[in-house]
Point group: C2
């Protein structure tokens, strides 16, 4: 078999939402398609990938470096030994050739997008959903038939008041979610506390059903002030209080704040993840790692990241990926993660899961379609096909 | 005043050299030109920038995100209060708007290149060399009139034997250098030791005149094996033994190895630099930080990095930047760093200094031309003008 073409497109992901750090008015996403000459159901197998959200499309990097490395390679360099399917691990090495260590950003997105398309194609060639392929290869065949998900929203946007926030949260519950997440840090502490009170009232005042996310905005003093003000709520988690690379802030915060903390969505390599595990004071079985494979060199690197976490006493169940996409859902189900984010209302159509699997009592089921499952989500596969002209 | 145009070009930087991690056969560099409507000597002031070496050109990122942000801004957003020159700090904020924290790579190169061009233009508008502008703004006017430099080379390339290595090192001494650097880790330890012996014989067996650089290749075991084998040489420094983000390796190595260590060229933000300062076991007045502004968000971020180092008990003299370029030379002279790298033979014409300032007894003087000094280096400014069609 061989790869016959790789398409490289950019799709808008713009919206008028803001978190405490950026607004999303110019956000974009890369969409790639890896076209093979393997035929299934009378058509060539095509693997699709996109880059989650929060980081911009990597179109230039893909065109300048990464797609040429893969398209220019001989099939032996990217196929398995028998030559009948792709080998994602060999492809990863090929993509990272002549890249220096350190400085993990942007290229981690470019490789992450390609890696997603490669796994999608590989599972489609095998004729199985990706979670099944992963479970068979890496977990003795065991699958989580449903995955815990929570509804991420609660963004700041112009004119949004407490009523609108409550309506939003209520609508997530109506759609089967049990746990919701809202942004903090984009308003003063007192105002954020009123917002938290408002959201809590929607989830029966049960702190374990509400997460808050500061998107890395706080210095230590502010992070601790929020921690003191929020501690009695016993929230599900307090996410990305400080700069994602300020592991010392994270460690001090964990000493001062008993309920769970979460972070990691802006760490893009297993080396960065290792530093969080080493220095961040993360508590096994309590705090949450949120690495997003699409932003961090893909699933091949994610396997290294999970191995690193295990070596530092953590478990795959301590991981609930950022991004709310089907790739992470497959990893969660196939490798036994702690759950997955979900964006019911934003980043459409990239966020969300298959059309025919509802969220029930806070868990989402899995589609049966081969690959990542893009074809099970009509609006998404339409955008992917149109963007890549396929 | 206003910015009238920004040019975005890619120049080849290919060579047949290798270090322990990558080969440079497809290496490129970004060259940008920031064109202003300020007239000096009858011509519009143009600031130039390029991205050092070891990371690829960031053409796509510059075109997709960073140049539009600057070109699309109103002059008030990038000028000083009186509107007669650029404000590099305001420009930095403008470039980083709506970028998430963490994941510092690639975009750090794109911003670094633009930042260099902005400082070049700013110093040209002021009619002074950049080192003078920096000394006046940040160091009470004090300048280092000459800067310690060392000759970096000793790469692996096909067919290169010990004689060729010695000839190369000797030629650096002939050109005024006192200290030389060679690569290790691309060959087995025993062979590298013979290479080190050969190089040492050229510098009178004086270990303080030889640095070795593993380019992040070693795991802890190998790093320690090299450390034990090299300790008696009392080398000037042992550079980037392990992965740049493996601060624990660095700390353990510093406990085991008494002579100086050096690292940091692959850390691209003040947050990453802070982690090295916090966790890496670096020894004040002994070990060497090698951050390269062109790869790490430019001089504006470098000022934050230097502040961070000071806060952790280090000094600007502990910093000897990677890259061998004139931008770092200006920073070294203007802000009082410990010295600067130099590549006498590779990465031409981007490496090296002004045509009319010779290296003498291991120190290089400074050109008088306004700006970074690109116009004082004929071969470089020619490439920059041709690449940007100016």
């Amino acid at each position: 078999m061989r790869i016959t073409d790789i398409r490289n497109a950019t799709a808008p992901m713009a919206s008028n939402i803001s978190n405490a750090y950026i607004d999303f008015s110019k956000m974009t996403a890369s969409v790639v398609a890896v076209v093979t000459d393997v035929v299934r159901d009378g058509k060539p197998v095509i693997g699709y990938g996109f880059n989650s959200n929060g980081r911009y499309a990597a179109k230039g990097l893909l065109a300048e470096r990464f797609i040429p490395r893969l398209l220019g390679a001989a099939p032996e360099a990217y196929c398995n030994v028998s030559g009948d399917t792709l080998d994602p691990l060999k492809i990863w090495d090929l993509l990272f050739a002549n890249e220096k260590p350190g400085g993990h950003g942007e290229r981690s997105v470019a490789i992450g997008v390609l890696d997603m398309a490669v796994w999608d194609a590989t599972a489609k060639i095998a004729g199985v959903p990706l979670y099944r392929l992963l479970a068979d290869r890496f977990r003795g065949g065991e699958i989580d038939r449903k995955v815990w998900v929570y509804a991420a929203g609660g963004y700041y946007y112009p004119g949004k008041g407490l009523d609108a926030l409550q309506d939003e949260m209520r609508s997530y519950l109506d759609r089967g979610y049990r746990v919701v997440k809202m942004k903090i840090g984009g308003a003063p502490l007192e105002e954020d506390l009123r917002r938290i009170d408002a959201a809590l009232s929607v989830v029966d005042g049960d702190g374990s059903r509400l997460c808050v996310d500061a998107n890395g905005r706080f210095d230590l003093k502010t992070a601790l002030a929020y921690a003191r003000a929020m501690e009695n709520y016993q929230l599900r988690w307090y996410e990305e209080a400080g700069d994602p690379l300020d592991f010392e802030l994270q460690r001090v915060l964990a000493e001062a704040y008993a309920p769970p903390l979460a972070t990691g969505e802006n760490l893009f390599s297993h080396q960065d993840a290792r530093n969080l595990a080493r220095y961040g004071g993360m508590r096994t079985g309590h705090d949450v790692f949120q690495f997003d494979c699409a932003l961090s060199y893909g699933l091949v690197e994610y396997l290294r990241t999970l191995e690193t976490l295990t070596a530092h006493g953590f478990s795959a169940r301590d991981v609930v990926p950022h991004g709310g996409h089907q790739m992470s859902l497959n990893i969660a189900a196939g490798l036994g993660l702690g759950g997955n984010e979900s964006y019911p209302d934003v980043f459409a159509p990239f966020g969300g899961f298959a059309d025919d699997v509802a969220v029930e009592d806070g868990y989402v089921g899995l589609p049966d379609a081969p690959g990542v499952g893009f074809e099970s989500k009509t609006a998404l596969i339409k955008v992917m096909r149109e963007a890549t002209a396929l």
